[in-house]
């Protein structure tokens, strides 16, 4: 009975990895927390699809941008925590700057259009 997801709730392609990395700057977190933080921070505009969250976390781990360990969650349950690595931090900087350039460029294009 799930509602059709609104198109604007969909995460722009290729940005999920970057947002996960950004979330982990605040400290180690497990999957549920990561999703919750992204949703809250975006004022619930973005909805993280679980089907892409976990593959994304595993992918980041494969690329050695995050590391993982099993720890106890807030409710004292065994959970897999992810931690940003030094390499991950560098990647985040690269991604952030690329994203900045991209939004500026898109903004320029759109701004000009809007000016008409």
């Amino acid at each position: 009975m799930r509602k059709e997801r609104q198109p604007q709730n969909e995460i722009v392609k290729g940005t999920l990895d970057m947002m996960i990395l950004r979330t982990l700057v605040g400290g180690d977190a497990h999957g549920h927390t990561v999703a919750k933080v992204i949703e809250h921070t975006s004022e619930d505009l973005l909805e993280v699809e679980q089907g892409s969250l976990y593959p994304a976390l595993h992918r980041l781990e494969d690329r050695k941008w995050v590391s993982s360990y099993w720890g106890a969650s807030e409710n004292n349950r065994k959970a897999k925590f992810y931690r940003l690595t030094a390499e991950g931090r560098k990647q985040l900087v690269r991604e952030t700057s690329r994203w900045g350039k991209m939004t500026r460029a898109i903004g320029l294009v759109m701004g000009e259009q809007g000016g008409r």
Binding site: Q50, G51, Y54, H58, D62
Partner: protein
């Protein structure tokens, strides 16, 4: 990285499941904190998560390598389909294993014998140079390459500049005895000029090679081959520098040749210098044609120009010695081809035969796959309707044939290890039999063969089942089977090709077999049953006068003849069917002198004792046999063969005429003698399969010193039982005299035919296998046709068709491709048999017996293979047939 993920994906999946569990718990907890009931909280959490299976699948896919997974799927799928029909799988596997195994074996031999470079230094520049006779006999391949006379060679070497160097060698034989009372042994040896090993680029494994000064009359040194070194001297390196005795003369071992050196063949046990046992007169004789010359071409000179120089020298010699058999030209042959010699043609023939068999095997597998494709038409149609791509479907079916062929190929390689050993041992002429083994290149060849076979066998059925019409499989359902008509046509044409190739193989096998039977039953011209033969050679040191030789020989004959069970005994330098041995040129004294340019008459030379002809059952045509008086007194008598009379005394009585023989190649015998013809005897074959040749027999007691003798003992019963008795007589006369080649005359003949027998047997085996394959194919197609037409036949029978009409209908359906294939095959074999005509003896390529036999066999097999399914069709119960949809 991805490989690691691939290996870890099970664990990764397990972790993910735990993480999902954690997510659900956390989310439920959050929801409960928002005030939901536990059930609602859990439900909402599940809703938020969505389908956990999907999450797992996407991670699984992310961790997989796509093409690899596909191959894995295909393999699994193919394995499952194959294991569902074990009968089919086992048959096709066996077929492919046999075909690939046989092909690999023959390729192994081909490679070792013809393709692999010789182990010599820069072998591409090594060439054999023969004398070549331009006259009438030049067209026959046996006489293109004549052995070289030593005197010719020394002129070539000193007077031409086209070759870096030229060396000469000839075969020899010795009685080997040790320093102490070791067992005597007759060994095959070779005599090589001092520069031979240097020219070939061979370093002795131990010691050194001959020096120029050692290559002269009076032998003092010897080199051992590796096998002799290991066998007789137990690989003891101290033998170098020690003495051994050859024909009673002491010689020093100066070196041992490396183990790979088996030139010119494996049988050679030791080497002596070329001039060691040749008298100076022989070395100067231009008609002592006993040697082979190997030369190394200069890198900057072409073979043609190097040879032109030698040819010019030879032509001068020819003009210089008009009354000697000095050839007017020379002929080259590359060393590797020379060593491969007689093997090349039969080997190529067998390769062709095995190639045909492989093709038939592929076609058969292909045929079976097409049949299965028909059975799976529904499945393919449904899958393609559901969105399977054609490429995927083709790939799947190809995987199946690749699997069959790969398994068959592996089995085949295993089989070929055994088969190669067998063939290499059974085939006498193979020059490098001991170096034949599987190696990387051969296994590579088998793999290529494997995949080529898989493509041939798999592609056609795969394409045919996945064509544009594949959806018809759904539309037509199974009632009419209309869409399968084209596929049946495909199978029938595959079958036609299969049968055509089978016919070619059968014709080839039939011809070879008939030719072999002809050889086997060829009349040698003398008694062959119950004849024991053996060889011995009297060493010249001990038997230095003709008298001593005669005393031994006569005593031996007398003793052997008195053994109970011995009917008679014959002594000669050689026996019928035991080889060419040698020939003399001669002129007939009473005839007018030869015109210029006319070929000198020539005949085989034989020595015989007075009892030789009667013991061997060679009939006297005219005149008389030798008498016991024709001995050292040198009465110069000769007996000639019928062929010689036909050839050189047409319409003339040869008795009391004289043959003038310019050379008598025995040391000490005077040359330029006239021999009076005292008798004419029947022809014997010097080798089975060759035309009889003019022959001269000289009395063995006339005073031939030393030399090898062959004794033939005609016995009343099984001859080999008497061999020990005969050998004991020899040992009692001279305990130091070794005896060799103790065989029956039938064995001697059999051994000269062993190659013909091998190629006939192998090709016949291939042909029978192909026939079997073709009949399985025929049976398969017809059974398939029957199943397919079940309902149609049911209707026919229900409407009143007679059983025998149905039987006839189905038989005709089966026999049509067989007849077509037969016709096509006969036409093809017309072309094919021309190629191996030269391998046939006394058999024409269009031998009616063979052709009729092939046609009858094929038709019989085709009828048999068609009869079972046709009969089954005629026994159909119409009610059951109509309900069977």
């Amino acid at each position: 990285m991805s490989w690691l993920r691939l290996l870890r994906r099970k664990r990764s999946d397990a972790e993910l499941q735990e993480e999902i569990e954690v997510f659900l718990t956390e989310e439920t907890a959050d929801n409960m904190a928002r005030g939901m009931t536990p059930e609602e909280a859990r439900r909402q959490a599940n809703v938020k998560l969505g389908n956990p299976q999907k999450v797992r699948e996407s991670l699984w896919a992310q961790n997989s390598v796509l093409p690899l997974t596909n191959i894995g799927h295909d393999l699994k799928y193919a394995l499952r389909t194959l294991s569902r029909t074990p009968g089919f799988s086992i048959i096709t596997f066996a077929v492919m294993a046999l075909c690939i195994g046989a092909a690999t074996s023959l390729f192994t031999i081909e490679r070792s014998v013809l393709l692999r470079p010789l182990p010599f230094q820069d072998p591409g520049r090594l060439v054999m140079v023969y004398e070549h006779h331009r006259g009438a006999g030049a067209s026959t391949p046996d006489f293109t390459y004549n052995p070289v006379a030593a005197a010719d060679f020394y002129d070539w070497r000193s007077m031409t500049r086209g070759f870096e160097d030229m060396a000469i060698m000839r075969y020899a034989g010795y009685n080997l005895t040790g320093e102490r009372g070791d067992l005597p042994e007759a060994v095959r040896a070779a005599a090589g000029s001092w520069n031979l090993f240097q020219l070939l680029g061979v370093q002795p494994a131990l010691g050194r090679a001959f020096t120029q000064s050692e290559d002269g009359p009076g032998n003092t040194v010897v080199m051992l081959t590796w096998s002799m070194f290991q066998r007789r001297f137990a690989g003891d390196a101290k033998i170098v520098g020690r003495q051994i005795h050859l024909d009673g003369k002491p010689v020093t071992v100066i070196g041992v040749l490396p183990s790979w050196f088996t030139y010119p063949d494996v049988g050679i046990q030791l080497w002596v210098p070329y001039k060691a046992d040749a008298t100076p007169e022989l070395l100067q004789h231009h008609d002592w044609h006993q040697s082979q010359v190997v030369a190394r071409l200069r890198p900057d000179v072409s073979l043609a120009s190097a040879l032109a120089q030698v040819g010019a020298v030879q032509y001068q010699l020819h003009l210089q010695y008009p009354h000697d058999p000095v050839n007017e030209d020379v002929a080259p042959r590359w060393l590797n081809e020379d060593l491969a010699g007689n093997v090349k043609k039969p080997l190529r023939l067998m390769l062709c035969a095995v190639g045909c068999m492989l093709l038939i095997g592929c076609l058969n597998v292909s045929n079976l796959l097409v049949a299965r494709g028909a059975a799976r038409q529904r499945e393919v149609a449904i899958r393609s309707a559901l969105g399977a791509q054609r490429a995927t479907l083709i790939r799947e079916q190809l995987t199946e044939s690749v699997l069959i062929c790969a398994a068959g190929g592996l089995g085949g390689i295993g089989m070929s290890v055994l088969a190669t050993q067998f063939i290499a041992h059974a085939w006498r002429d193979l020059p490098t039999a001991q170096s034949i083994h599987l190696d990387g290149a051969v296994i590579g060849f088998a793999c290529v063969l494997m995949f080529a076979a898989a493509l041939v066998a798999g592609l056609l059925p795969a394409l045919s089942t996945t064509g544009k019409t594949m959806l018809k499989g759904l539309q037509t359902s199974a009632r009419t089977g209309a869409s399968s008509v084209s596929r049946t046509a495909l199978r029938k044409s595959l079958l036609t090709v299969e049968i055509a190739i089978t016919v070619v193989l059968l014709v080839a096998a039939g011809l070879l077999l008939k030719s072999f039977m002809r050889l086997r039953s060829a009349d040698v011209g003398c008694v062959t049953e119950n004849v024991l033969t053996l060889k011995y050679s009297l060493p010249e040191k001990k038997y230095d006068t003709p008298e001593k030789v005669n005393i031994f020989n006569e005593a031996l004959l007398e003793r052997v003849r008195s053994i109970p069970g011995v009917r008679s005994a014959a002594l000669g330098n050689t026996l019928p069917a035991a080889g060419y041995w040698g020939d003399f040129v001669f002129t007939v004294k009473e005839h007018p002198p030869l015109k210029a340019g006319e070929d000198l008459p020539e005949g085989l030379m034989r020595w015989a004792d007075p009892g030789y002809f009667s013991a061997l059952g060679i009939p006297l045509v005219n005149g008389r046999f030798f008498s016991n008086d024709e001995r050292v007194a040198r009465s110069y008598k000769v007996i000639v063969s019928n062929q010689l009379v036909r050839q050189y005394f047409p319409g003339d009585d040869p008795i009391r005429k004289h043959l003038h023989v310019p050379a008598h190649a025995h040391a000490g015998a005077p040359s330029d003698l006239d021999y009076e013809i005292v008798g004419v005897v029947g022809d014997t074959l010097y080798q089975v399969g060759r035309e009889p040749k003019a022959t001269m027999y000289f009395p063995i007691f006339e005073g031939v010193a030393g030399g090898g003798n062959m004794l033939a003992v005609h016995t009343a019963s099984e001859p080999l039982q008497l061999s020990v008795m005969v050998q004991k007589q020899i040992a009692s006369l001279d305990p130091g005299l070794p005896v060799s080649d103790v065989r029956t005359l039938n064995q001697v003949i059999g051994e000269s035919l062993v190659n013909a027998s091998l190629s006939a047997t192998l090709v016949l085996a291939f042909a029978i296998l192909s026939l079997l394959l073709a009949s399985v194919g025929l049976y398969g197609v017809l059974s398939y046709l029957t199943t397919q037409r079940t309902s149609e036949l049911g209707i026919r029978i229900a409407l009143g068709a007679q059983r025998d009409q149905v039987l006839q209908l189905m038989l005709v359906a089966g026999l049509r491709p067989a007849l077509l294939g037969l016709g096509l095959g006969l036409v093809l074999s017309l072309a094919a048999t021309r190629i191996f005509q030269s391998l046939l003896f006394g058999t024409k390529p269009l031998d009616p017996v063979v052709l009729i036999g092939v046609i009858a066999t094929l038709l019989a097999v085709a009828v048999l293979a068609s009869l079972v399914p046709a009969w089954r069709a005629s026994r159909l119960d119409p009610m059951q047939a109509l309900r069977s949809e």
